[in-house]
Symmetry: C2
Subunit: 154 residues, 2 copies
């Protein structure tokens, strides 16, 4: 199968462009994110080895997310309409993960979301800078820094 090398910092997909592919991560670590009207990045997900990363849009609509590499990575492109992506068990699991994230965004404080993140994804938490964790949690790096300090004080 075809492989693509993606160097750290290199952009694999841009919002507003068409992209009929998603990517299976063979090695490395990537992220997908949106950029809002104020130019701020909001990380939607991280994808380490063996994860799948891409845009959920129908394949003739432009992407909504950027994807780039956090570490030097190797990915395998997969056509959006490939039967490989029709595994309904995996899709149902994915829906559940997103549901939990929504409920937590609505009901948990920043520190609770942080603790939940490092517990659920310890492997990822060690490999990405704090500011990206903050972006994933929906807060600023400054707020994450403060919130961690206050937790230790207790």
């Amino acid at each position: 199968m075809k492989r693509i090398e993606v160097k750290k910092g290199q952009i694999l997909q841009r919002a507003d462009y068409l992209n009929k592919k998603v990517y299976q991560v063979e090695s490395g670590l990537l992220r997908s994110y949106s950029i809002d009207e104020n130019g701020k990045e909001h990380i939607f997900m991280f994808a380490p080895e063996n994860w799948l990363i891409g845009d959920g849009v129908p394949k003739d609509e432009p992407c909504q997310l950027f994807i780039d590499a956090i570490e030097d990575s190797v990915v395998i492109p997969i056509e959006r309409d490939s039967p490989l992506l029709s595994d309904s068990k995996k899709l149902i699991r994915r829906v559940e993960v997103l549901k939990n994230r929504i409920i937590k965004l609505m009901s948990a404080s920043a520190i609770e979301r942080y603790e939940d993140f490092i517990e659920t994804y310890p492997n990822i938490a060690q490999r990405v800078p704090q500011k990206m964790i903050a972006s994933y949690l929906g807060i600023t790096p400054e707020a994450l820094s403060t919130v961690k300090r206050n937790r230790l004080k207790k």
Copy 2:
């Protein structure tokens, strides 16, 4: 097919209990929601006619959401493992909707989320009380009231 009548206010599913079914809404309007440790409700979704509502968990795990009827409704129960629920196109669409909600929760203000909601779901917005819209948006009814007033002032 079997039908269930659900009267306004009646609970169809409780969090922490097993439920191997999801529900196709034939008429009426239902909602699913979680209750956090402070006893606050957070509405995850509304389901009017022809929508599907249920929990995304694997079928042997207890539910995470409550489901009840906002209007007198009629629903058709469907087994979780039914092939009817394996339509990967629909699942992909669902993933996209949830993705957009996450991105908006992270990047948009309460008033922006409100305007987006009434634009995207005008039919639902007219049928549910404000406090439920607030709960769906992740804010308090008081904040929604204030935010709407400030918008009109301009």
